[in-house]
Amino acid sequence: MLKMTEIKKVFRTDLVETHALRDFNLHVDEGDFVAVTGPSGSGKTTFLNIAGLLETFEGGSYQLDGEDVSHLNDKQRSQMRNEKIGFIFQSFNLIPDLDLFDNVDVPLRYRGFNAPERRKRIEQSLDLVGLANRMKHLPSQLSGGQQQRVAIARALAGEPRFLLADEPTGNLDSKMANSVMSLLQDINDRGTTIVMVTHDQELARQAKRNIYVRDGKVSELHEVSELPDAVTA
């Protein structure tokens, strides 16, 4: 599903070079649920951005769904993001002046679906996250947890095979975080591959696999079932 081999990423300024990823290797199978943990600045988000085709890389190879992405142009990368990848962000990233219906509609517009197909998908997605009855509400009229559910609905509306979540519960209290995590597990159970970056060890334990990133490299890779209760990643 996702195969990164010897990936390198360097951020350069006039004065300094920062090696965000060094020989980063990771293989995620279809249907997997991987939690990525690690200290701040370790390269977790850079990995996620490269995985989501939001950033390029300088060395190594990256295959997504069997396709080498290094030679894709902007339009092809956009199309692949739209069709195969769903994003969930810590800050939800909903568009404030669009109601829930229109927010979920955003990726579908770029997919080229007709209006009835879009409506069906939007209603199904919002129904899945329990917000079908609030379609005409604006994001500001929802709680943080509900906003994140809308973001999840938006990510799922295009039926991606691959969901990338960057600290999806980072802005939520524990009750809402558990609710969102439970939703992600349901989604994974339905067959969607999930890679989630988090600082929360407890949440990471709820994934199927944990990887620990340090200094731009995968330093540990575990099946969650192998971990002792108190230690995750």
């Binding site: 988000t45 951005n49 989501g52 939001l54 950033e55 902007d74 339009k75 956009s78 199309q79 993001r81 739209n82 069709e83 994003f87 962000f89 810590q90 800050s91 990233n93 568009i95 002046d97 669009l98 955003v106 990726p107 517009r109 770029y110 997919r111 938006r154 295009g158 960057d166």
Partner: protein
């Protein structure tokens, strides 16, 4: 997707009403000022008789001073009485008319209407058919009346209303220049703009108020109205000596339907000048010219220099307004960085976002264009009050100008939006998604 982008554009404008209003205002000011001057220039340079402008030719011959050209090496823009009458007598064109401007006092028979001064055009009967002059009552006088120097007159609608109360006055008698004229026709509304047939006497002046046969100039010894230029003194004293002098005060137009007709007429002019040279006149090299209506407008620089300078200044002002708009668009699109990042993440290509923001820019431009046209109306009213009655017909927006205004607003706003839009599309999505 266009309707989707249009909906997003409306939402985006509502999201930042002050910033959007500033952009609309900047474009409106630029469009308003430039459309004011463009309209004046457009109307000044408009074709006053599009259906015939290619077959009507103004006649010029160089009868001027052997030592000094008439004007910067150019040939005289009017004819002498001798040339006007000789060329008319030759009768070489399909239609032809020599003409001049004069004027005098009209004395209405109705004692309640006071005598008043009116301008008059001396012309041949072909004048009316050549220039498609519309008649309300009656018609032109005929060639016989031209030759017989008949005291007939054609009135404008206004004079007919003033003297005869607007009724059909054909056959009535009108006293002018102390002489009785028989009314043969009354014109309907007619005001070519510019007044192409005689730009020497005010290209944007109103047409004359009455029309009488050309030879009455000599018969009634009518005064010259308008520009008269001389390069040597008349030989003798009195009206007739002045009339037959080398002074120029007459215009002449011919109607030549084909290029062959034009070439033949030019040959005729050259032969005529050669004959005159044999008689000791026309001391300068042969330089005869036939200019069609638009060539004549251009030759005579009907569009005034100050109007063109104003046009360029207003276009510079539009440029300044657009530079301000660029700054405001940069600020607006920078404020949308998070949304742009999100749209990139969920599958929008740079091209999609470029088109989306171009639609938004175009909508702002269109709104600016609409308000700009309203400002142009105000500007044109200002020009009317500044320059008075003679620009009344120049200071008006027609459908073409409204269309030009909207297209100018659209094109200039899109041009202004290219850089901000390009910048917006190149925002790194990853940085925006994390930082929100």
């Amino acid at each position: 997707m266009f309707s989707y982008y249009l909906r997003l554009a409306f939402k985006s404008i509502r999201r930042n009403p002050i910033l959007s209003a500033l952009m609309v205002a900047a474009i409106a000011l630029g469009i308003g000022s430039s459309m004011t001057t463009i309209t004046v220039n457009y109307l000044m340079s408009a074709n006053p008789i599009p259906e015939k402008s290619d077959v009507l030719y103004h006649v010029q011959v160089d009868s001027w001073d052997p030592h000094n050209a008439f004007n910067d090496d150019d040939i005289p823009n009017q004819l002498t009485w001798t040339e006007a009458t000789n060329l008319m007598a030759a009768n070489k064109a399909m239609r032809q008319t020599a003409m001049a401007k004069t004027g005098g006092i009209i004395e209405p028979s109705d004692q309640d209407v006071k005598p008043f001064e009116a301008s008059a055009r001396l012309a041949f009967g072909d004048f009316f058919s050549m220039f498609n002059v519309p008649f309300l009552f009656g018609s032109s006088w005929d060639a016989e009346a031209d030759q017989n120097r008949s005291q007939v007159i054609v009135l404008t609608k206004r004079i007919n209303e003033q003297v005869f109360g607007g009724v059909n006055s054909v056959g009535e008698t009108l006293s002018m220049f102390g002489t009785n004229f028989r009314v043969v026709g009354v014109l309907d509304d007619w005001q070519p703009m510019p007044k192409f047939y005689d730009v020497n006497n005010g290209a944007f002046d109103e047409s004359e108020e009455v029309f009488i046969p050309f030879f009455l100039k000599e018969e009634l010894e009518l005064p010259n109205w308008g520009n008269t230029n001389c390069w040597k003194s008349p030989e003798g004293e009195g009206f007739k000596a002045f009339l037959r002098s080398e002074c120029i005060n007459f215009q002449m137009w011919v109607e030549l339907p084909t290029q062959n007709d034009k070439a033949e007429y030019l040959d005729f002019l050259n032969s005529y000048v050669s004959e005159q040279k044999d008689l000791g006149r026309f001391p300068r090299p042969i330089q005869n010219r036939l200019s069609n209506v638009m060539e004549w407008m251009e030759d005579q620089e009907v569009v005034a220099d100050d109007a063109q300078i104003m046009l360029w200044l207003s276009l510079m002002f539009l440029l300044v307004c657009l530079l301000n708009t660029i700054g405001l668009l940069l600020a607006k699109f920078t404020g949308k960085a998070a949304e742009i990042g999100l749209r990139r993440a969920v599958g929008a290509s740079k091209g999609d976002l470029f088109f989306q923001h171009l639609v938004e820019t175009a909508l702002i431009g269109l709104l600016g264009g609409v308000f700009g046209l309203l400002l142009a109306l105000v500007g044109l009213e200002g020009i009317k009050s500044l320059y008075g009655e003679f620009v009344r017909d120049l200071a008006a927006l027609d459908f073409t100008m409204v269309l030009v205004g909207l297209v100018l607003a659209l094109v200039s706003s899109i041009a202004a939006g290219l850089y901000p839009t390009w910048r917006a599309c190149n925002i790194a999505p990853a940085s925006q998604l994390k930082s929100q």
